[in-house]
């Protein structure tokens, strides 16, 4: 599931209060933010980055009604068509007795489905590798990766980040997607291929 190899200007910030205006200014200047990596979830950062509302909950709803339908149709088929049993003289179509199971299956489908969808959207999975822009993004740094195109003047971007308050700035050439295998994957002879 490789996303392709691209060049990034990576700026690391050590203060949330600096990061927010930086994100705003970078967007205003017209640079494309690939992503911002933070040690902890930050309220409102998605908004500042201009990310669209997630549709994860819509997916969750669809998984949930799939669970409801599965449970109800399976139980009604088993208890009325396939193997009708007399349980305490209750009708074969014993809806109240099925509600707890229907509820559980609804929750199960939506929970498992949403977790898997979430992992897919975040490109997380066991055995799968992703490029780390900065190891300290898991500790105490807020790492902003700006995507470069052929026309981007990366010195200018670096200057810009410097002014925006970044503590560490560097240029990285990296795989954007996820892959299975070794971490040196992104070190492919990129410069020669694209003529940088």
């Amino acid at each position: 599931m490789a996303g392709g190899i691209k060049k990034f200007v990576v700026g690391s910030f050590d203060d949330e209060a600096v990061l927010f205006p930086a994100v705003k200014n970078v967007r205003k200047a017209g640079y494309k933010i690939h992503d911002v990596y933070t040690p902890f979830p930050i309220h409102g950062l998605d908004h500042a980055m201009g990310l669209r509302e997630t549709s994860l909950h819509t997916a969750g709803f669809i998984y949930a009604i799939t669970g409801t339908t599965t449970a109800l149709s399976f139980m009604s088929w088993v208890f009325t068509k396939d193997w009708p049993l007399n349980v305490g003289g209750k009708p074969h179509f014993a809806l109240p007795a099925w509600i707890p199971i229907t509820f559980e299956l609804t929750v199960l489908f939506s929970a498992v489905g949403m977790v898997l969808t979430f992992c897919y959207l975040c490109q997380l999975s066991p055995f799968v590798k992703k490029h780390h822009f900065h190891a300290r993004a898991t500790d105490d740094l807020f790492v902003m990766a700006i995507e470069c195109t052929d026309k981007t003047n990366d010195a200018e971007v670096q200057n810009f980040l410097q002014k925006a308050g970044a503590k560490e700035i560097n240029i990285q050439v990296a795989e954007t997607g996820w892959w299975i295998g070794r971490y040196d994957r992104e070190q492919k002879l990129y410069r020669e291929e694209k003529g940088y």
Binding site: H43, G44, H57, F61, G88, G89, K90, P91, P96, A97, I99, P100
Partner: protein, 418 residues
Amino acid sequence: MNNQFELPASYKKWTWGLIIAGVIALLYGFIMFHPFAPAEHGSGNYSSTRFWAVLLQNSVYWLLVVNASMFFICVTTMAMGGWQIALRRVPEAISSVVPILGIITFLILMAIVWSGRTDIYPWLDKSAVAKDVILNGKSGFLNAKFYSIWSAVCIFMWWILGRKMRSLSLETDKNGTMDYETGKKWIWKNTVWASLYTVFFGLSVASTAPWLWLMSIDAHWFSTMYSWYTFASTFVSGMSLVALFVIYLKNKGQLEYVTEEHLHDVGKFMFAFSVFWTYLWFSQYMLIWYSNQPEETKYFIERIGTARKSGPYHGLFFLNLVLNFLCPLLILMRRGVKRNWTSVSVMAVLIIFGHWIDFYQMVMPGTMKDHAEMMPFEFGIAALFIGLILWGVGKYLTSNPLTAKNHPFLKESMIHHT
């Protein structure tokens, strides 16, 4: 922001319109239904029963609804909640109606019990209780003396503890901004009183009060889920009432710090507690349906009837489920709906009406049997209570600042983000 809110003329018009309509309905009932005549169920005359049953339903329902807003304040205080401070004066105002409705409810309950309305509470009939093993066993709890004392204690404690919480909040307006130490002390004091209220709430609303006031209508029957179910019913309506007043005041340009983020959270309460109500409703129904014991199924047979013959409350019973479960679940599920002032107001009205129906079908089958009515009289009495709530809330809102501006957590509420 320092402008004191003044009630618009339309608010007063509605308040007095509803109260007058309610008083007319009450007088009509008083004259036409002969409330002090004994019940003559043999002759099919249910008028006097109807009078007391409708009063019982409405007084208990609206009292518990307004009382729920003080519960909301107390649990959010105990949870160190900050988001609700911007709108906190609204539930405070609603809970200030508790003494008024409490006294009215108490008078109604006492009138029912001490005039020996066995048509409402069968356990009031001493000769029947003596012959009845089940009622005899419950007579230590279900007797007029205990009923009266405990009802009085419940209402008095809601009043006193609620008043303490309100006065703690109001005294911050006079004393100015708190420094760290004072604020800490004040929050601690709030937490202590809130916990006292909540403990007593558990002993009253979440257990004994609904047993005495409502469940004992069907004196033979009992359900361990009943009080929780009643609590959920009134809490979700209480939150809807809070939402309605918040939206109203916001429309009038008050509550400057309340944004759709706060509305979203109130909407979440409405959504979540509708589901909670359904959980209890269903648990109560399903266990009784499943075990199929005659003494338990009686309650539902009175309402929905049997497979062969549907009962008189069949339609209402399932309407209840549609209004209070399906509608909130499907409509309030989306984020956009909870953040929209119009859709939340519509849903709030729907939920309050739905739970009024819920209380109707709690009270009527045991008292009116197959003869329940839903005529202008029933709605008129409801209008009387709504009018009284509007009057009491309006009085509180006009005499106190609408934002608790010195509350230590106000900042947290201002920057609240859902």
